[in-house]
Symmetry: C2
Subunit: 229 residues, 2 copies
C-alpha cells in the first residue's frame, strides 16, 4: 500500500535516538531517560530535551518520569535506519574486505548518508540477505522484521550442543576476541560447564575448550541443536 511515504529527512542525531529507543523497547517496554543516555553516551539532560522535541514531532510518546516508546512512525524510521545499517555492514564485508569487528563504526556513519536507492542496490547485489554479518535480521523495505527465537549462551543448560546465531556486540575488541576463538554466526558450540551466580562458562568450539565470562555469554545468542555427551 502506502508506497512513497515522503519522510522529511531526519538528522543523524534523531536517527540515532530512534535506533537506541527501538533497541531498548522490545515487547512494549518503555525506555528510561538514563538508559538512552547511557547507550548514546550523552548526558541525561540532553536526552530529556531531545525526547521532548521528538514527541512534539510525533516520533515517540513520552510519559514524564516514566519513559518513552516509539510511535508507529518512530518505529518505521528506526527500522529504516537499522535496515540501512545492516545492509551496509553486509555489503562492506562481502565486497570491500571488512571484517565484523571493523564494520560497525563505518556503517554507523554511512547509515545516515546513503540514499534509499543506494541501499536497495546494495541489497540487490547481495541477493537480498536476511541477516547481517553478526547474524542480526535485516528488516525488509516495509519495515517488517523477523526476529528468530534464540537464547543467550549464558542461559543454556550444560551439556548441550547449540548453533551460534547472533552476536549482539559492537565493540571491536570484544568482537575480535570472539572471532579469535572460532565464534561466528553458524558456529557449533557445546556448553560444557556453567557456574552459578553469573560465573564463568566453559564451552567447546571446533574441538577447543574456552572459558568465557557470563557477560560475554549473554551476547552470544544460540539455537539448541540437541544433546551431547
Amino acid at each position: 500500500m502506502n508506497a512513497g511515504v515522503q519522510h522529511e529527512p531526519l538528522t543523524r542525531s534523531v536517527e540515532d535516538y530512534l535506533k537506541a529507543i527501538y533497541r531498548l523497547t522490545p515487547e512494549g517496554r518503555a525506555a528510561g531517560t538514563s538508559e538512552i543516555a547511557n547507550l548514546l553516551e550523552l548526558a541525561p539532560a540532553s536526552v530529556s530535551g531531545m525526547v521532548k522535541r521528538l514527541s512534539e514531532h510525533g516520533l515517540l510518546e513520552h510519559v514524564p518520569y516514566k519513559g518513552v516508546q516509539l510511535t508507529e512512525e518512530g518505529r518505521r524510521a528506526a527500522l529504516r535506519t537499522i535496515r540501512r545499517h545492516r545492509l551496509i555492514e553486509a555489503y562492506l564485508v562481502a565486497f570491500l574486505g571488512y571484517t565484523w569487528d571493523t564494520v560497525h563504526d563505518e556503517a554507523e556513519r554511512l547509515e545516515h548518508a546513503v540514499s534509499d536507492q543506494l541501499v536497495e542496490r546494495m541489497a540487490s547485489v547481495l541477493g537480498h540477505p536476511s541477516v547481517d554479518p553478526h547474524g542480526d535480521p535485516i528488516p525488509d523495505v516495509d519495515g517488517a522484521i523477523h526476529e528468530p527465537a534464540s537464547t543467550p549462551l549464558s542461559e543454556l543448560p550444560e551439556g548441550i550442543l547449540v548453533e551460534l546465531r547472533r552476536v549482539d556486540e559492537s565493540d571491536p575488541e570484544r568482537l575480535r576476541y570472539i572471532a579469535s576463538i572460532g565464534l561466528q554466526p553458524g558456529a557449533r558450540v557445546i556448553v560444557v560447564d556453567r557456574q552459578p551466580f553469573h560465573g564463568p562458562i566453559t564451552i567447546e568450539v571446533e574441538g577447543q575448550s574456552h572459558v568465557i565470562g557470563h557477560e560475554l555469554g549473554h551476547v552470544l545468542r544460540c539455537v539448541p541443536l540437541g544433546e551431547d555427551a
Copy 2:
C-alpha cells in the same frame, strides 16, 4: 613522509566551503564572498561568518573586502574531500549501477561520511583510477593532483577534431542531455561551426550533428586531436 596527519574531523559544512573555495581559486586567485555564496547557495552574510571562523582555524586567509584563499592546510583538506568524492563516484558507477547523472548527489553526501580506510579500499578494487566518471582527475592520497591541460569546447576554432576529456557539470538534467547526444569522456567531437559573441556551436558526434549553446560548450573540456576537413 608525514604519514598519519591526525586531522581533527571537519564538519560537512566546512568541507563543503573548502571544496568550493578550492574550485574558485585556481592559480592563486582569491575567491569573493558572493562567489562562494553563489556556489553553495547560501546568503553572502553566512559566508562572511564562516570565512571568519575558518580563517581563525587556519584553514584559509581572508583579506576583508578582498577575498579568501586556502592555506596549505585548507588546500589539503579540500583535496582530501575531492579525492573522496571522485573515488566514490567512480566506485558507484563501476559497481553499483549508477550513471553519471545520478552519481553526483550520492557522492556529495557520502564524501562526508566515509572513512579513509573505505575510500582506499574503493580505490584499490577500482585499480587506483586517475579520473572519475566525468573525467575529473582524482588527487592522490598525499593531495597531489595532476590537471591535464584541456580547452573548453566553446573556445576551440572551427573545423577541428577533438577528444572530450572532462565534463565540468553536476546538474543531472544537463548531464542526461549531454550523454543523450553521445558526449562522454573519450568521445570524438568535431567542431563544425562556432558563432561569435557566445553564439551557438555546431558539433558532430558519432556522425550526428548537434547545435549546443555556448554555456554548455564551456563545460566540455577537450584536447585537440588534429585538423579535419
